[in-house]
């Protein structure tokens, strides 16, 4: 620390005054510049950081909140702040405050790209749609053939049987042999609100494929299958706006609210890796047959947003961290190899075009009445 001033020829009183003045001076100097000096000396040096804000699908919130992700981005000069929103809702929002948007699927990204005239997009990771359920619920569904062995022997949820059950308005308590969950409500997969959320749109994508005789529907087919699609959504009643809320309901309230919930595989995989997530051996994940991959797609709106997109797409460390949150990296590498086998390739289908999907979503949103 600073040395005390010395003088041989001053009185004790004068000396005291001078010392006080010096202390005040040092204090003032510290006040002005001290913090800056302290900041420069204290942490290891890093490049200047720019802040970029984004509107994202809620299922990626925990990825961006992860301190290791925050640190990895900071090392690359980025501080990212995110707000969660339903992936379809993003397209309708005022995007002026944001440097990027990061919806959960390619059709949602495509819509924003068209609306805003953006040509670039990055799809660094994807996640198949999956059904979070419970062992006894799976057993009850198996009694009606709605859960059966898939192409590779693993159990799958048969979407065709779900469509039939919905058509007949079959209640849980009428499923043959079901004593575990005798609820007097229609057997339906729990989804989010299709008006807001991408995961509900993905359900529409895979269910319309089945209702259309195992073919991706075009505009005419979309109109034809609409009554079936409406049943799947309308009779659920109130649905949450985001998949994060639905998955939270599934984990918190359980089978009473969401006996089987359509979620991103990533949400379940991430919960599996966090000891405090609430996930137990009473939670099981099945793939629907067929299923679709939701490709999380970043659309940059500013140069900084573009930097983030490029970084997520190419940085192996960030790919590793995304995998920790359950997202399957698009590029091959150790992070991608560490995943358990996904849905059987024979049971993965394509998503309808953006226009066809929007056409069905708009009708379902109108309430189908």
């Amino acid at each position: 620390m600073a040395a005390a001033p010395t003088s041989a020829s001053t009185s004790r009183r004068g000396q005291g005054l001078r010392v006080t003045l010096a202390l005040v001076l040092i204090a003032v100097l510290l006040g002005y510049g001290g913090c800056e000096v302290y900041r420069r000396l204290a942490p290891p040096s890093s490049p200047p950081v720019v802040t970029v804000a984004g509107l994202i699908g809620s299922e990626k919130q925990s990825f961006f909140d992860d301190p290791d992700v925050v640190a990895a981005l900071a090392r690359n000069g980025l501080a990212v702040t995110v707000s969660p929103a339903g992936s379809r809702e993003i397209a309708t929002r005022d995007l002026a405050p944001y440097g990027f948007v990061f919806p959960s699927s390619s059709p949602a990204a495509e819509r924003i790209q068209r609306d805003r005239g953006v040509v670039t997009a990055y799809a660094p990771f994807s996640s198949p749609m999956a059904v979070a359920t419970f062992p006894d619920i799976a057993t009850a569904l198996a009694g009606a053939g709605a859960v059966r062995p898939g192409a590779d022997g693993r159990q799958v949820v048969d979407v065709r049987v779900l469509l039939d059950l919905a058509r007949q308005g079959t209640r849980w308590d009428r499923l043959p042999g079901n004593t575990a969950y005798p609820a007097r409500k229609t057997v339906l997969l729990n989804t989010t609100d299709p008006a807001y959320s991408n995961s509900a749109a993905m359900y529409l994508a895979l269910a319309s494929f089945v209702a259309n005789g195992d073919a991706v529907p075009d505009a005419a087919a979309a109109t034809r299958v609409l009554p079936d699609m409406c049943r799947l959504f309308a009779d659920q009643g109130y649905r949450p706006r985001t998949t994060a809320v639905l998955f939270n309901d599934y984990l918190t309230t359980g089978r009473g609210v969401a006996p089987m919930a359509l979620v991103y595989e990533a949400e379940f995989e991430q919960a599996r890796r966090v000891p405090t997530s609430g996930l137990t051996d009473q939670n099981v994940l099945l793939y629907p047959a067929p299923t679709v991959y939701s490709r999380h797609t970043l659309v940059p709106l500013t140069p900084d947003g573009d930097r983030l997109g490029r970084l997520l797409d190419t940085d192996p460390e960030l790919a590793e961290l995304a995998a920790r949150h359950g997202f399957r990296p698009t590029r091959p590498g150790p992070a991608a190899a560490a995943f358990p086998p996904g849905p059987n390739a024979a049971e993965v289908v394509d998503v309808p075009s953006y226009e066809t999907l929007e056409q069905m979503l708009a009708a379902v949103e109108r309430g189908c009445r």
Partner: protein
């Protein structure tokens, strides 16, 4: 020593560097359900930890949705915190104004049945369905209290659950289904003997009746939040504990989503995110469960130890306003026990001018002239008897009006015509006029006993004619059982004798409402509708 001082000064300044980076304290304005008052200790601790304080402004779920839909919340409010956003989400203008909603906690709407009656009915042992409850209610074996579904979310949730369960199709309700279940719903609500504008007053009234206080004979139970029932049992105020009964065919639960408004500032947005993150921490969730008897909003935190252990099957909640409006109208106009609503109105000289104008406006507002979102549920209902007892030097003769279920609007128009003719002059005979109202009710109850009967008293000054409060109390003690339990709801207005009005409310099992000025009478008269 000086060197040491310098070290201390420098240390303090560097410590200041650290805290300078923390976010500044922030107060967020929140429209909230009144039952959240019990969160005060948790929210105080949260404000301490996060610097974010919530200023809760209490209002009903429907009124809140109305405020948001009309854009009146934008700029004056940062967030919403009601027991549920489900009604709000059916109104496009409201749903477009809200942003992220994060569930903080939950509580299902279930039955609390006094232990002995639960044993008699066998409800303490085997699963019970809403149909079985309806059967007991319609045969006089289960008399219960429930909040008004158009005023309070617990009653609204119960109404949806009962209707969905009695429909039994397993599908979400639609207007045709509502029409189909009208008969079974009427059987269920034949057992409702007490209504309330808030879940807090409902449990208070239940306790008063259970302990032999005034406000009517004891009830067999309440339909309300599981948390309210557990808190009642914990409070030690009940002579007989309530047995929790969770209908096996399903419930509707409150989920308390803390909801950001889109119009909120970036600071408010960040502040609410900080607070939400804090409230969802396991240790804070644990504290919420212990303090409020609600269930946690995150996985892995155990429910209150006395909470129901069975699976809570959540019934599908309608997503269109037409169905919910049909359900509320069916309840109010066709299904619930009809009301007998008495207004004892001071028209003495001091009421002249803005005061009597305010009174007229408030009453005319209940005659169906205002088509706004919530007012359609506040108007005088089909089958309702409305009785005016205007008074000054002496009570006027009671003037009864009946709202004709076959053609209700002309009846309401007749009420409006009478109200417009109210004129002020003379002295203030409060208690003599109340006695006149009760004497009228003795006769009316003898002729037609099956009504939910209440008295509203509006006076702007102290009684200066006729009997006094002690004499009125003696009069009250001499009433027959049919009218002794009729509650009086005094409005604190003008120079009304506040202390006496509180005593009057307590003596009759009512409660007071405050109207700060003549313009406030409108909102107060609408609020009281939940208790009538």
């Amino acid at each position: 020593m000086r060197r040491a001082l310098l070290v201390v000064v420098a240390g303090l300044l560097l410590a200041a560097c650290g805290t300078a980076t923390g976010p500044p304290p922030l107060t967020l304005r929140v429209l909230a359900g009144s039952e959240l008052a019990d969160m005060a200790p948790v929210l105080d601790e949260a404000a301490e930890a996060t610097g974010v304080r919530l200023e809760l402004q209490y209002t009903g779920t429907l009124e809140g949705a109305d405020t948001v839909a009309a854009g009146r919340a934008d700029g004056t409010t940062d967030a919403l915190w009601f027991s549920s956003n489900r009604y709000l989400e059916t109104i496009p203008a409201a749903r477009d104004r809200v942003d992220t909603a994060t569930r903080i906690m939950g509580s299902p709407v279930v039955l609390g049945v006094r232990a002995e009656r639960a044993r008699e009915l066998g409800w303490d042992r085997a699963p019970v369905t809403w149909s079985q409850v309806a059967e007991a209610a319609s045969t006089g074996r289960f008399a219960f209290g429930m909040t008004d579904p158009s005023s309070s979310n617990s009653g609204f949730s119960a109404l949806v659950a009962v209707a969905a369960a009695l429909d039994g199709s397993g599908r979400v309700l639609d207007p045709a289904a509502v029409d189909r279940v009208t008969g079974p719903l009427a059987a269920f609500f034949a057992g409702q003997r007490l209504t309330s504008g808030s879940s807090g007053w409902l449990t208070d009234a239940y306790v008063r009746r259970a302990t032999g206080g005034d406000g009517g004979p004891p009830l067999d139970g309440v339909v309300t939040y599981e948390a309210s029932i557990l808190e009642l049992n914990r409070s030690g105020r009940l002579p007989e504990p309530l047995t929790l009964v969770v209908p096996s065919d399903g419930v509707v639960s409150a989920e308390y989503p803390l909801t950001l408004l889109r119009s909120a500032s970036p600071e408010a947005r960040a502040g609410l995110a900080r607070l939400t993150e804090h409230l969802r921490r396991p240790e804070v969730q644990q504290r919420i469960v212990e303090t409020t008897a609600r269930r946690a909003g995150v996985p892995g935190v155990a429910p209150p130890p006395e909470a129901a252990r069975t699976t809570l099957v959540e019934l599908p909640f309608p997503t269109d306003k037409a169905t919910l409006d049909a359900l509320l109208t069916t309840y109010l106009d066709r299904v619930r026990r009809p009301a007998r609503t008495v207004y004892v109105l001071d028209v003495s000289g001091s009421m002249q001018g803005t005061r009597i104008d305010g009174l007229r406006t408030a009453l005319i507002g209940l005659t169906g002239s205002d088509p706004s979102l919530t007012n359609q549920f506040r108007r005088f209902r089909s089958r309702e008897d409305v009785v005016f007892v205007p008074f000054s030097d002496a009570p006027g003769a009671p003037e009864p009006f009946s709202v004709d279920p076959a053609d209700p609007q002309p009846s309401r128009d007749a009420i409006a015509t009478r109200v417009r003719a109210l004129a002020a002059g003379g002295n203030t005979a409060v208690y003599g006029s109340l006695e006149a109202a009760y004497r009228y009710l003795d006769q009316a109850a003898a002729a037609d006993p099956d009504r939910l009967t209440t008295v509203v008293l509006l006076s702007d000054g102290e009684s200066n004619r006729g009997p006094r409060l002690p004499e009125f109390r003696a009069f009250l003690a001499g009433r027959p059982p049919s009218t002794r339990g009729v509650p009086v709801f005094p409005i604190l207005f003008g120079e009304a004798a506040r202390g006496e009005m509180e005593q009057l409310a307590a003596a009759t099992g009512g409660r007071t409402f405050a109207a700060s000025d003549p313009q406030a009478l409108d909102a107060v008269f609408r609020e009281i509708r939940g208790y009538q």
